[in-house]
Assembly symmetry: C2
Homo-oligomer: 352 residues x 2
Amino acid sequence: MITIKDMADMLGISTTTVSNVIHGKTSEVSQKTVDRVEKLLKEYDYVPNNSARSLSQKCSKIIGVSIKGRKGQYDNIMADPFFSVLLGAIEAEIRRRGYFMMIYTSDDIQELIRNVLTWNVDGLILLGILHDDFVKIRSRYKNPIVLIDSYAPRDIMNYVNVGLEDEKGAYEMTLHLLERGHRRIAFLADNMEGVDYTRYIGHQRALAKYGIKADSKDLLIIQRGVTEMEASMEELYYMSRNYTAFMCCSDYWAVLLMSYFSDRGIRIPEDLSFTGFDDVLISRIIRPALTTVHQDPIRRGELAVDTLIKMIQGEEIPDWDVKLPVELVIRDSVKRIGSYGGCGEDRDAGVK
Amino acid sequence: MITIKDMADMLGISTTTVSNVIHGKTSEVSQKTVDRVEKLLKEYDYVPNNSARSLSQKCSKIIGVSIKGRKGQYDNIMADPFFSVLLGAIEAEIRRRGYFMMIYTSDDIQELIRNVLTWNVDGLILLGILHDDFVKIRSRYKNPIVLIDSYAPRDIMNYVNVGLEDEKGAYEMTLHLLERGHRRIAFLADNMEGVDYTRYIGHQRALAKYGIKADSKDLLIIQRGVTEMEASMEELYYMSRNYTAFMCCSDYWAVLLMSYFSDRGIRIPEDLSFTGFDDVLISRIIRPALTTVHQDPIRRGELAVDTLIKMIQGEEIPDWDVKLPVELVIRDSVKRIGSYGGCGEDRDAGVK
DNA sequence: TTGTATGCGTTATCAG
DNA sequence: CTGATAACGCATACAA
């Protein structure tokens, strides 16, 4: 590992000059010197020491990415294809922009804060963080932050949220169910904060349009955690006879439940319709293919990184709460029900 | 951000003493001083600057993780659930051990090398790297390296490979197909190096046991790249009539193909049987559930990190080529064929 | 056009 | 028990 000083010594010039050549500040250096330095640069394949650079400047070129792992939700959070694809897009864009990515998925916010501070990370991308945690982070970390899938009230602290038309997506999906004659719709979420809450609002709005009052007992929360999940699914299975459709907050859950239910004799969509959210690969692959709300995780990741880097470079961001578009994707998991919207007419045949 | 020097000044003592207290070298410091320092530590929530530490020591506490993205294979490599779950496990273990994870997925090896050198990464975990690339990296990077899914010849350079019983897995799977009466089996891979090659060896060995000579035209390579893939699948579709079973090198491809084929009228497993490799979540979820070879990505990630950290700490690793166990998981995607093993008897009904 | 000197925060050496 | 000082590699303000 050759250093600037080594090269300066070899050429009998100062480190300043070498440094200037490296950074292209070649206007003040004679062409001859430039050539000699560049020759050495190539020859020894000089690689700068970023710890040193980071120490002497204020910036580290590191972007921290953190997913708040909901405790024990899956084996690990990356099992959710939406997160992993999004993360892949973020990584690619960070790299393309010449930054480095440090990743941290724990749910220990204090530890996250220490990590971020200890490396003097230039900017932070936070996925699915809740308001309280965000406040904690903001109080100690002063650099730019971009949120994804967050509904933190803006308050005083500045951030940018790269969000989604969650409300609209849920609204349109619910409308679709209603149009197909469904009246007894369960809304499935795995929490009631942030994104899922907003989707529920959209759901309610669509119901209201049809003069249906949302009933809180139709709001079903799936227990997270590998062990609780099984019990939770069983419970949902028994409740399912009260509904004609399960509207899920993510493809991940939709697909898991569809599999569980169909193993127990429920025919989809004949006995029970399903919808998802995200449009991950698997929803196109399973049969029946899942009717869902499409979003573009690649674009989202890129936008998040672009925005963050703009903030790092001191640009003003006009829109601190962008909402990326969603699109209803109708596939085969929603049954058309007779004009009366009568529910469960041929249900019990399939159950048990 | 308070520094050691700040605290030393506040207490009127030297930085050395503060540093000693921080590192628990308390044997040479009076209890009174220890208490005073620790009080400040808490009060200001001191966080060390890791760039500085990394500069003055030889170690950075960073572990680099790199997946060689095969050019344009997917939208991004993380779309493959096996990789993403493995990565999640690696991240969790790195964190648990007090290290930091820097990730890099490009296929530009030179760039990877620069990244690793510029941060003076303590150790490297490389996923799915090929021999030539490994040699390049080794020539410039001298710290410990752990390989996952690699079959680089050991040569002189030292590394540890955390592998899998690939040969055995493929052997057993092929045997399973043979026992169920299949004789015309296509072997599907997306490359013929490393892991997939080893699996092919196992496949051949099983065929040999049944006195069947492997025919290279039964070795089907799926074109990577989003655009080529479509054409490739179509081609495979037309070739499929020659076979009773498609044995795939990953669940990912198996599942993709099953979906594509069944949309075109091929019934699985009645018309064509499928097997996979990895046992990712999706194989349990699709119908028919996929017969596949199970491996444990969580354990694998943990072992990789554990081994690497041992190497970093200078311990000798007894086994530089561990092969984690696999297990055949029989589900519903393989048909039982009459004792003659006649192929395609009821095939053309479903095709076209 | 080039060089000198300094500081970034930490650890380590060595002397008191 | 404690402290001064150097060193890590780089960038920059300031001289020459």
